[in-house]
Subunit: 347 residues, 2 copies
């Protein structure tokens, strides 16, 4: 019997097809070809991007030259622009304002070929520090209400360049879904006097059915109402509304769980396209605080095509129960062995 | 300067990049190959689908045999099932129920090759009658809260078979986005004592900037806060909450505008993949009425890849201002001539 599950944070409904019994290999699709030719993000091509905003680089090396291991540059085709006023205005019944904000690219690695699931934990730590440093800087601008950190990996997930990179957008508004999630968490908090994300962590650690991995600071789960096969959330175990307030010890813990989650997704699903997005509290909103909110990161492998009604309704059909997805992601090591055995039999 | 526009019905924000000056040809992408081989929806293969629920067919022809021009059958792999109880239950803090409902396929044409933009207006009328008849029948089941009529055209838009078809899903819940839109319209109604969709029609007819076409009964516009390039909404000019109450004269008017809109999208964008979805009021919800709501159909050509932050935020970046999109769709005839001239110069 298919199950209609409700996500406790946002209230969205997901139809989980529990019976079809799909395996990870059923989701592996033909991938689009990689780009060929010149890459502006590779080491040595620094002059081909707009001038760097920030870089972590070896002492003695110059701005916009080799020697970096993380480099943050403006997006060459930004969706928003930094200068001017918000200039709220109308056109008849409609409301609009200028597209004020910023759009930055975090080049995660001088090397073109690697992806985040292959990095050392140390390299992922450095990326998290870059995210944190930029978020702290961008929220200084009081016109900014939300800083969005996300990654598109693979053409099918919207990446236009193959070189590993993430993106940071700062916005003069709180986006609708963010507001919904924050409001949903507040509703739960008002009703229960508890954080809904803390409750999720507690329940998942107790049932163990959907836990992918955890360490002292962070847990990775496949959420109860997963919209997509192998959707994975990473949450700090310690309640915290704001990613920017992450502590030194937590950065290493977060890096370890993020790197291992992406690595397992890569192994089990043959390097699928995916998106991740960091969900954190809004900033600079007058008269608003978010003690009821709990920051986290959501990874969405892009394995199925999203059809018309999913756009129109926010109602999803997921052919892979999260319990099974978590089991596959937990068994990566066994899976490795199995693959080897399979290859052996074949040859 | 990019513009941040707000959709007055749902409150979602869209960044419209007004400056890039893209043309329709910039959005035309490589399409996936068509399927080859056997098609269960073609005339003569009726026994390869589950038994028909309804068909419009020539007098004297038998059920599940040739002679039909519209045929409605159960989806062979339904996302929901018709038997059993809702059986609302919990798993710890989580809520779930059985996936009760139905999932039907409307085979729009015995012929494999055509698509809705190529049909006669008469054939589109028949499809609309089929939608209406099934909606009336499905809402008789008091457990059903929403009937979702939609179409995926092209592989990239989620169609798994090329033969022209639409789908109808009935659900025991009101999906989240539908509820948001209905609630957004109520909020506007409470504030203004007017229907937000009627106001949109009035403003668009007066400014003319985003009108694609209209007849006495229906209007097609590219909405002010279009999420996607060439997003097109078709609305009845006469206020009505419920598609199922469409009148005979209106069916012909709706068919003419729907067919012509899809035809122009096909011509201007070289038969792009698209989704459409019919937005109508929920049904059988205890103590609820929807006089403030206004049914309509939304067409979303799938020309850009939806990236991570759009999933996570409900905030969209659209590189094609709807004013320009509407101008291209209005000039289809000129565009035709231009194409011919261009071809002439080439040869």
């Amino acid at each position: 019997m298919p199950e209609l599950r409700k996500d406790p944070t946002s209230g969205r409904s997901v139809m989980i097809a529990t019976e079809r019994g799909k395996r990870p290999t059923d989701f592996i699709q033909h991938r689009e070809h990689a780009q060929v030719g010149f890459c502006p993000f590779c080491e040595g091509n620094e002059e081909k991007t707009p001038g760097e905003i920030m870089a972590y680089r070896r002492p003695g090396t110059e701005r916009n030259s080799p020697g970096w291991w993380i480099r943050v540059v403006p997006n060459k085709f930004p969706a928003l622009i930094a200068e001017g006023d918000l200039d709220r205005t109308g056109e008849g019944m409609y409301d609009m304002m200028n597209g004020l904000g910023s759009h930055e690219v975090v080049i995660e690695n001088p090397c073109h070929e690697m992806s985040m699931g292959d990095y050392s934990v140390k390299q992922v730590e450095e990326i998290i520090w870059a995210f944190r440093d930029r978020m702290v800087a961008l929220t200084q601008d009081e016109r900014i209400r939300y800083v969005l950190i996300f990654k598109n990996h693979g053409r099918e997930a919207g990446a236009s360049l193959d070189h590993p990179h993430s993106q940071i957008i700062s916005l003069p508004i709180v986006p609708k879904r963010v507001k919904e999630e924050v409001d949903g968490a507040l509703e739960y908090y008002n009703f229960k006097e508890r954080c809904v994300f803390c409750d999720i962590i507690r329940q998942e650690r107790s049932s163990k059915k959907r836990v992918v991995l955890e360490n002292d600071g962070f847990i990775a789960i496949n959420p109860f109402a997963s919209r997509f096969p192998f959707e994975t959330w990473i949450l700090p175990k310690h309640h915290s509304q704001n990613f920017a307030s992450i502590e030194i010890a937590q950065v290493a813990q977060f890096a370890a769980v993020l790197r291992e989650s992406l690595h397992r997704i890569k192994v089990v699903l043959d390097d699928p396209p995916y998106n991740f997005m960091l969900h954190t509290a809004p900033c600079n909103v007058p008269r608003q605080t978010y003690p009821h909110y709990h920051w986290h990161l959501e990874i969405m492998p892009k394995l199925t095509k999203v059809a018309g009604f999913e756009w129109g309704t926010g109602f999803y059909i997921n052919p892979m129960p999260p319990e099974k997805a978590a089991a596959y992601l937990c068994e990566t090591e066994n899976w490795h062995e199995e693959q080897k055995r399979y290859t052996h039999v074949q040859t």
